[in-house]
Amino acid sequence: MERVTAITTAVRAPLSPGRRYAAAITFIALGLVDIMLLGFFSHRGDAIFALSLPGAGTQLPSLHAPAALTCYVAGGISIALGLLRAFVEVSRRTKRLTIAIVLLCFLIAVLCWSGSATTTPLNVVSLLQGSIEASIPLILGALSGLLCERSGVINIAIEGQFLAGAFASAIVASAFGGLWLGLVAGSLAGGFIGLLLAVFAITFLVDQIILGVVLDVLALGLTNYLFDRLMAQNPNYNTGISFSSIKIPVLGDIPIIGPVFFNGPIFLYITYGMIIVIQVALFHSRWGLRVRAVGEHPAAADTVGIKVLWIRYRNVLLGGLVAGIGGAYLTIGSVGSFNPDISSGLGFIALAAMIFGRWTPMGSVAAALLFGFSEQLAYVMSTLNVPLPPTILNMAPYVATIIAVAGLVGKVRAPAADGKPYVKA
């Protein structure tokens, strides 16, 4: 009996009543929105969801959902879960599950509501495929930030590394006609910004936030200048060549999943590889242990013989190389051409994804996917003539972020020595 009480208190302990009711109230509110706003204002009729891309080999039949009814059901489920959360204490895992279900219900209701406004089917595969593509640079940027910050160096320069990578890969690929050469050049250009970051942050102990912003401005100015002087004068330096999509045999033919996960530019597979390698290396290798030690308590790491500054140098450089690949994706991985300020703030969103992902690879990936999805959802909804002003639709990614952060993430903790230069006493 005592044990049971102990366990329940342990489970209960971190949860204040305020937070518990906050979740319940949010659920019920979302449920009411599903029913009252989305359900009542749905056009009577079906929302059609296409499950295959036009022209794909195997065509799945489209899904027809009665819009209003689906909204009511989704709202009902959310309210039921809200009541459950208000009166019943559930485990941490179940809590996360309920949050996921409520968000999914909300999403389905939104899709039904927007889908019912038009006769054009809402293409689910296109939506998911676009989300993945939008997430690739965010994931690579977040991983870059993670590599740096886990070792204790803040990397605000992701945006600059993106720009440098995007420019270098586009010009090298165009001038020499070698896409792989462009990829290497992009990565190295990102690495060069990483090197500047490392030298000034680690050796010269410059404030890392200011330094990062300075490097971003530097990269913006430099690429704008070079664009004006080289690319704009000579279109042969900006031909717009890019990697074509690679379809994995067999896997790429699976309906829905195939085109989304197994048919993309080479960067998609590089990203898969990076996620796995960094996740494993960071948490299951001696290197990872040392990196984390340096990021949490460099003095302690130093006393056991770990070379703190060397580890930081190496990680910041690695981070630059990874972000450079993300930058290369922005040109030779997708649109081909370089344009001034082509990264348009993506580097900062990647940084946010890393923070919302609690400085973990998997969390960062989830956050990046969420950003990518909500951006894509706003595009898809807007093409369907959804009765919402465009400015409101474009807010969607940020609203989703706030909800997700408040509901799913809670308090985050940075590596203890993040941003603190290490000077041997």
Binding site: F200, L215, G221, Y225, S344, Y379, L384, N385, P390
Partner: protein, 373 residues
């Protein structure tokens, strides 16, 4: 250690400023390089501030600059030099204008809607300095103030050629779905989209067809925006969405972001889909030549001619400050040549377009728009 740190910061800061300064280094090099030796009688200097798209945006900044250069070429005796300052962020607008104010410019041309406030303030504070602003006027609500006599407002009724573009797209679409999207929901963008939408509706009425427009609706003023004029990836993603929804002609109204759409169209083409697009502002076959074969036409506005005329008027002393509205009638807006599509557009469709052009010129057809010029 402390001193080294300071030096390091200083060095890095200097480097950043240097590159920023380099990129703001007026183009002068190529354009006015030889001008310093020109006749001493020539004293007029025309100055231009770009918006954040940059001088090589293949769109309205580039076109404005072309107009500046054309003015100099047209009257080299009077116009000593043309020069520009690029704006990296919107914070640079006022800064760049005040830089020019101290340089004795005969006229300061500001490019774009977004520079309205900065231009208006400077014009108010310096009533003797002549200004011209591209894509912005009092009647469109872009300039707010009491009317100032020293601002030339250069605007374009692009609903007219957008209408033609929409009609042409509807006539060329095989899937009976065409699409358009904008960079930002601002008047100079949505006026194109309005015209395009209305042109498609007119085609439907004339031919009892049911061509759908994705991405915009003139009646509700709701639709798709990339939220940027620099984010090419957004242009590609939006185009992919349209293509997957069955659209086969896309009209991006987002400056350089259209290059992302061109890439999506190219990819669709190489996977066997027949998808095309229309370029905006300038002739795409010149400004984005590598994608020329996907452009049915370009819906253009004659920014260069308007800027050139305004600069020349200031140089000749005939500057009055008022509104210039580009229309089909004065050739201030027009569809660009079809280039690759010249032989593929049915002659009957071309004849209809000619007829509509005349009807718009005579005022018989007024393309609907909620974005007055």
């Amino acid at each position: 250690m402390r001193a080294t740190t300071l030096k390091a910061v200083a060095a890095l800061g200097a480097l950043a400023m240097l590159t920023a300064a380099c990129s703001s280094n007026p183009s002068g090099g190529s354009s006015s390089g030889g001008s310093s030796t020109s006749a001493s009688a020539a004293s007029f200097k025309a100055c231009m501030v770009t918006d954040t798209g940059g001088i090589n945006d293949k769109s309205f900044n580039a076109a404005s600059w072309a107009g500046m250069q054309a003015a100099k070429a047209a009257d080299p005796g009077k116009i000593k030099a043309v020069t520009y300052l690029p704006s990296t962020t919107s914070a640079d607008y006022a800064q760049n204008i005040s830089t020019f104010l101290s340089q004795g410019c005969g006229i300061i041309v500001t490019v774009g809607f977004l520079m309205a406030d900065a231009t208006e303030q400077a014009a108010k504070a310096h009533p003797n300095q002549k200004f011209a602003i591209v894509d912005c006027s009092y009647s469109s609500g872009c300039l707010k103030g009491p009317h100032l006599k020293n601002i030339d407002q250069l605007v374009f009724n692009t609903a007219q050629d957008g209408f033609l573009g929409g009609y042409l797209a509807a006539g060329m679409s095989k899937t009976k779905k065409v699409a358009t999207y904008g960079g930002l929901p601002i008047g100079t963008v949505t006026i194109y989209m309005d015209g395009f939408w209305d042109g498609v509706q007119y085609y439907n009425k004339q031919h009892h067809a049911g061509v759908q427009v994705l991405g915009w609706n003139e009646k509700t003023q709701k639709g798709t925006f990339a939220n940027s004029f620099t984010n090419l990836a957004a242009g590609q993603q939006i185009a992919n969405t349209f293509i997957n929804e069955g659209a086969d002609i896309i009209f991006p109204v987002a400056g350089g972001v259209g290059l992302g759409t061109a890439k999506a169209v190219q990819n669709a083409d190489s996977s066997g889909k027949k998808v095309y697009m229309e370029w905006v502002d300038t002739d795409g076959c010149i400004s984005a030549a590598q994608y020329c074969k996907y452009f049915i036409t370009s819906v253009t506005k004659g920014i260069a001619a308007a800027v050139s005329a305004s600069v020349l008027s200031a140089a000749n002393g005939s500057f009055a400050g008022g509104v210039y509205i580009g229309t089909l009638k004065n050739r201030g807006v027009m569809l660009a040549p079809a280039h690759h599509f010249a032989s593929r557009i049915p002659t009957s469709l071309l004849a209809e377009l000619n007829k509509i052009t005349q009807q718009i010129e005579s005022g018989k057809i007024v393309p609907a728009t909620k974005s007055p010029v």
